[in-house]
Amino acid sequence: MIWDSEFALSILPDLLQGLWVTVQITLAGTVIAMILGLVVAVIRFSRLPVVSQLFNFYVQFVRGTPLLIQAYCAFFILPNYGLSFSPMATGIVVIGINYSAYTAEVYRSGIHDVPPGQWEAAKALNLPIGATWTRIILPQAVRSVIPLLGNYLIQMFKDSAVLSAITVFELLAHAQAIGSNNFRYLEPLTIAGLLFLLVSYPASQMVRRLERRLAPAH
C-alpha cells in the first residue's frame, strides 16, 4: 500500500473535526477530574470516620478497573436503570471520574507536602478550617502539583480515544470510519496519530517548562 497524499488531504477536514471533539472531551473531563479530585483529596485528608474510608475505596476502585470497562458499564448498563445520556456526555463523565481518582492522589501528595507549620500558623490565627484550606493549604498544595496535573491532562487527551468504543465520535472514531468506508486505513490512522502527537508533544513541553518555573516554590 502506498501513501496517497490526495486522499490524505481530502480526509483531513473530517479528522480535524474529530480532533476538536477529542479536545472538547479532554477539556470538559479535565474540569470534572480537577474539581472532583480536589474534593476527594480534601475529604480523605480530613479523616472523617466513615466518609474518608468510603472515598479511599472510591479511589482504589476507580484506579483498579480499566477505563474501557467503566465506559461500557456507563454506556450499556446504566440505561437499563433509566439513566441514559448521549455518548459524548457519558464519555466525558466517565473519563472525568476515572481521572479524578488519579488527580485525587496528586492533590494528596501536594497537601501532604505543605509543612505542618502552615497548619499551626493558621490555627494560631484562629482561622476557621474552611479558610485554612482555601486560603492557606490548597494554594500551596495545588501550585506544587500543577505540572503533575498537566501530565495527567495530556494522558487523558490520549486516553479519550478509548471512548470511541462507546460510539463517541472523536478523532479515532473518525479515522476508523474513514478507513472502513474507503478500505484504506493507512492515511486516516497515520494522520490521527500525528494529530494526537501534534497536540500532546507541545503540551508536554509546556508542562516541562512549568515544572522548572514552579520548582523553587518556597
Binding site: 507549620g117 502552615q118 499551626e120 490555627k123 490565627l125 492557606i136 523553587p216 518556597h218
Partner: protein, 274 residues
C-alpha cells in the same frame, strides 16, 4: 521611638504591682507524656495579666509544650488550662478531648510567634498580616489594611509590604510574623524560641521589636528562649524548667544572680559560659 502599639486594653499604670493583677493564664495539674517521656508532670503554673514571663531550661524539658498547649497545637493528657478566666482545656484522665466552640473562643485571646516564622509563603508581608483580621475578626477591609500597614511600619518593614517571605531575610520574616500575631489583638502573646532559627546578626532586630512590645504594652507575654541576657532584661519573672516541672522561678535578678537550685546553677553555668 516606634508608634504606640494598639492592643485591646489601655496600658497598665506603672503603679499597679504585678501581684495585684488578675490571673491571665492558669495551668492546673496539667500532665502530658510522649511514650515514656513525661513532658509535663502535674504542672501548676499561673501567669498574671500583663506579666512578661520567660521560660528557660534545657532542650526537651517541656518548655515549648507549655506554649503549644496554650495555642491548642497539642493536647494535654489531663488537667485544666484557662486563659482570661475562660476554659481552654478541661481534660479528664483517659478522655480524648476534641476541638470545641469554647476552645476556639478562648483561643482568640492567644497569639503565637514560632521559631520557624511559619509565614504563608504565597502571600505578601501585608497579606500575611491582613488575612486573619479580615476573615476572623471581620474587620472592615480598609480599616484592617490601615492597621496592618501600621503594624508592619511598627516592626520596621514599611518598605517590604509587597514582598513575599522568600524575598525577606529571617529577621524580617520573624518581624512580619510578630505583626501578623499582633493584628489579632491577642491578650496573650507566646514566643517559641523566636530567634533560634536566625543568623546571629539578625537576632538583634527581632529582640528590639519584642523589647518594645514588652515595655510599651500590657499584653501578657510568655517566652521560651535561649537568649539569657534578653530574658533577664525584659522579664518580670523567669521560670527554670526541667524534666516536665518548674525547678525554680522568681525575678530575673534572683534567678540569674543568685539561683537556689543546683540544676539552675549548672544550666546557667553551661549556657552563659560559652
Amino acid at each position: 521611638m516606634p508608634p504606640h502599639i494598639d492592643t485591646e486594653s489601655a496600658p497598665v499604670p506603672e503603679s499597679t504591682p504585678a501581684a495585684a493583677r488578675e490571673v491571665m493564664i492558669s495551668f492546673d495539674d496539667v500532665s502530658k507524656r510522649w511514650g515514656d517521656n513525661e513532658v509535663l508532670r502535674s504542672l501548676n503554673f499561673d501567669v498574671k495579666s500583663g506579666e512578661k514571663v520567660s521560660i528557660i531550661g534545657p532542650s526537651g524539658s517541656g518548655k515549648t509544650t507549655i506554649l503549644r498547649i496554650l495555642m491548642t497545637l497539642e493536647t494535654p493528657d489531663t488537667g485544666l488550662v484557662t486563659v482570661n478566666g475562660e476554659t481552654l482545656w478541661d481534660v479528664k484522665p483517659g478522655s480524648r478531648p476534641k476541638e470545641t466552640k469554647q476552645m476556639r473562643a478562648t483561643r482568640r485571646h492567644v497569639g503565637m510567634v514560632f521559631q520557624q516564622f511559619n509565614l504563608f509563603p504565597h502571600m505578601t508581608a501585608l497579606e500575611n498580616v491582613l488575612e486573619a483580621p479580615t476573615r476572623v475578626l471581620k474587620l472592615d477591609k480598609e480599616e484592617a489594611r490601615q492597621r496592618s500597614v501600621e503594624l508592619l511600619e511598627m516592626v520596621g518593614l514599611s518598605k517590604h509590604l509587597d514582598h513575599k517571605p522568600p524575598k525577606l531575610s529571617g529577621g524580617q520574616q520573624q518581624r512580619v510574623a510578630i505583626a501578623r500575631a499582633l493584628a489579632m489583638r491577642p491578650k496573650v502573646l507566646l514566643f517559641d524560641e523566636p530567634t533560634s532559627a536566625l543568623d546571629p546578626e539578625l537576632i538583634g532586630e527581632v529582640l528590639n521589636v519584642i523589647r518594645e512590645l514588652a515595655v510599651s504594652t500590657d499584653m501578657t507575654m510568655l517566652m521560651v528562649t535561649h537568649e539569657m541576657r534578653f530574658a533577664e532584661e525584659i522579664s518580670d519573672r523567669v521560670v527554670m524548667f526541667d524534666h516536665g516541672s518548674v525547678v525554680e522561678q522568681g525575678p530575673p535578678g534572683e534567678i540569674f544572680k543568685a539561683p537556689k537550685e543546683d540544676r539552675t546553677k549548672s544550666f546557667l553555668h553551661a549556657v552563659l559560659s560559652h
